[in-house]
Symmetry: D3
């Protein structure tokens, strides 16, 4: 069967939110195509409701590892922009495991020398800076600007857009040449983020592309045989 | 027609070699799928025979710019691991333009903190280091090891493999946690490079994935409307 | 009562090992003195048996946070050289929380420009490098050398000493000007580590000194009033 | 005799000011305890009146070295936040020699990733930046803000406090997560510096803690024997 | 003949502008002296009219290499502050080849720790930043401020001076301790740039001095024989 | 009188050695030319006999400042490769003051991205590293190799040459693309240092060139008026 030959990429949303999981699925849908690895999205019912604190961040690691042990895939994506449990997950499988924020930052670096991040709330800045340090590119962060909007605004399909556009413009003014959406839940708002004319990186999509590369690239030796 | 809706990514090999162009096409073939942007590979008959020197590197820029002005695409990839003319090309189009080496290094950074590069000849090290500096990640280069093999060995389908595996092992010993193939012509040799068990990044494929992201991501606002 | 006026520093060994806890207590004993804050050492019965993997590292965070919520102190020390749960712990108290590895590295920097680390096993290098990145001083690490000895050798009071002295000499040769013991269980082996004549930093003691400073320093305004 | 067993840490104020020397003694008094090394504070009658210029900074080195040669101690602290003569002093004794500014910055790094410095006058910024460079952490300096107050204000027990609180708030706004008092004479003003709620590091105390660690740590092998 | 013994430094303006060439000649005139290598200034009739874009920057490389192959000299200077074709030029001769911007930045570093650049137009910032990255000193750039004046103002002997003085003051306020004129055509405006009292580095002169050093230094062994 | 119009650059050897002073004078002699500023070389009878230790380094500062206050010049050069007293000297005059090591390193950076240093004895490495840190380019040091030869060998006109050539080859093997002579007394040995074919920077000459630039460049506004 073609699907089985094409394999499966499993995106694991490490929290327990179905809405968030559906948002990821929608964001990566354009990367689905016959013959390519399938992009499945799942979530952790036993994970924290959302990953807002460092405590949540740690709490996601164990259920994430168990999900990977339970579910076979050719590659795994951790569906959260603070990349929780990444190293733990990499130790429980020999398949590629990708973190969405690392993928988004790497994608930004293919487009520009300096990037800015639009964050959900100021509470996630420290975790994302830690990732930039691990990647060695904190100096290339032009600025990190949180939306810090009330939840009812954030979940509205239109209401957060002026604030997002404003943040994007502020990043451009501070020297960003590409904009990373520092939240998996902003996929529908690429438009306002793109207003200053800079490339916008949506992390679910960046991770989908990186996972396709990891899976298809690993097969290359077979093709070349 | 589906193809036209799906758009076109143009990979421009900036040299005049047909064999090299075919190698790129073969490397990116696994990324072709119905409904996704088409990956076309072309070359520059008026470009240098190969990009071996800095003079070649400069000479590729003008024909590259003209090819981009001539040929419409949703995104462009410069099909050479020294990313010649990247900034010049970006100035002649408002579509994304990607350099293969930047894409490969960024992909390595999604997989590991430190990477090594297997180069074709020692003559390309300086150009690739310059790119690492532009990306801000030169400190993350564990080592850069050239093959420096005679052309008749390099073009043989099997002969260079022991040297490639040896270089990969040497990079692993020096702390690389991922291996970047620093040459667009090594796509058939992912196997020996993978021998030490580290992720191997093939630059043509890394650029294909980055270009798919650039094109599909830029469409996202429309989908989300 | 003097003790209560002098306050209490709580060192929490985030694993479930009593032997390890006793080792920490012994290491910090020289810092106990009448009138100074008391150095209490406790452990987490519900923590992992040891912190060997990233999964252990994450698993320690939640019990650690609960212990801090449960036990009043003027300052807390996380008694493990991978500083597990540090940021999470800092969010559950407004008292100072210190990580042993950060304290040891900071202490090394008061003595030298470049330092080396003697690690327990190669498995802890990645976690300690991540801490060096968070501190911004990874470039000052001369080398990281693991002991990688069998447990029966490591727990012997004498057997590991030649290997420790050898590691210390190797660090000195690679440019270290101070040596950090990258394990809370090496306190009895400061002697062999000091053989090449460089300052040796024992992490339990470094954390004890940092905690005394945090507590006594915070009281200073009262004194000065 | 207990005192002699407990040893002696000598803090040498490298200028000729008795008032300054007394301030240091008062700042470190909380670290005195039976059984611990004694913290003696002395000064250099032949040193410059204060260390304001680079010329003063150089002039302090020779008297400092002579004082160390003259006075036995288990560890020495240079009692000035520009760490004058540190390397020279280290060459004239095999006992630990500590610089107050290095100790304060290292202490800040145990508490936060980014710190700010409140300086006495703008004239000391260059010397303190040089120290940050030597430590490899200049990038972690959020900002350096001088008080630049007239001497009669600075020496008043209350008058400088609004300016200190203002500087602390400005450092917090610029991203500092800990505040280093960049002057040995601000020990009485930890209170206003702590107003924004960040940890405050007083350099005399940071050096006292580091010296205790250096002395007690060096004894550890004996204890463990 | 003395002149021939003294040798010749060839400054090649890589564009086709005679006015620009004359400006360089005038700037370096003070370095001409009997017995020293002669400073000849030439230009490339087949070069771009000016080097404004990356495309121009690439286009200059080939004519520059040919000029070097054609004209014997003891050292070559590329007379443009984006150092076009530097590496290509170095590969076609075993004589020293110098880039004006590198020489100016290096000269600034002999005078100060942090420097600012006054640029011609914002379009040259990216090229000059790339050079700073290649030199490893981008972090020492206090700020880069373009003049962005209309051509008729720029070429006026007096009109641009207020804007230049204003830019110099702005650089000083942002922490620059030396000012690099980031354009070969500002040699007549050293005066207004020097208004804030910082050292001003004029790139044609910096390159002249560096070339004299390269030529006279290479002769030293003969003198010492 | 021409000489007076041309001005005077004063090179102050901060030690009391006449032989050393004569060596500097010989090294800079090729930069003397009619109409250019005169290069005078002097020494400090009250300075240390040589600058070998940090204590010597500090001791040179005060006599150096006094010499500058005493002797008028258009620019000053500190004739020692550890740049003693540089900042102090800059504070006592508004004329340019240059350090030989900074000038030599800056000159190396005009020729290459990575350089190596041949040092006199291992005792000067720390001081020169401190300068590289102040310049922000320590990462560009490929290696620092001391000669560590007995004085009778070092002062012999021929005996040290094999060791110098060997050090230069070792630097080239470790990635140096230019060689800095890290001692003012090696001017006669540029030849053996140049053996691997890399540019060699002699610090007396580098400083002479930098001083000419500082003096002639500062005059430019007058010329342009």
């Amino acid at each position: 069967m073609l699907m089985s030959m094409a394999g499966r990429i499993l995106i694991i949303n490490p929290n327990a939110s179905r809405a968030c999981t559906e948002g990821i699925a929608e964001a990566v849908a354009p990367f689905a195509a016959p013959g390519l690895p399938r992009l499945d999205v799942t979530f952790l019912p036993e994970g924290p409701p959302a990953i807002v604190t460092w405590r949540d961040w740690h709490a996601a690691a164990e259920p994430l590892c168990r999900a990977i042990e339970r579910e076979a895939a050719e590659a795994y994506v951790i569906g959260c922009v603070s990349d929780p449990g990444l190293e733990a997950a990499r130790a429980v499988t020999d398949r590629p495991v990708l973190g969405m924020f690392r993928c988004a930052v790497a994608a930004a670096m293919t487009r520009a020398e300096r990037f800015g991040v639009i964050g959900f709330t100021h509470r996630s800045e420290a975790r994302q800076r830690r990732i930039l340090q691990a990647m060695g590119v904190e100096q290339r962060l032009a600025a990190w600007i949180p939306l810090d909007l009330p939840m009812e605004v954030l979940t509205d399909p239109v209401a957060p857009q002026p604030r997002i556009a404003e943040a994007a413009r502020a990043l451009a003014e501070r020297g960003a040449e590409a904009i990373v959406l520092g939240c998996a839940g902003l996929a529908r708002h690429v438009g306002p983020a793109a207003e200053p004319g800079l490339p916008v990186i949506e992390p679910c999509q960046a991770a989908a592309a990186a996972a396709l590369l990891a899976v298809l690239g690993a097969r290359a030796p077979v093709l070349a045989a």
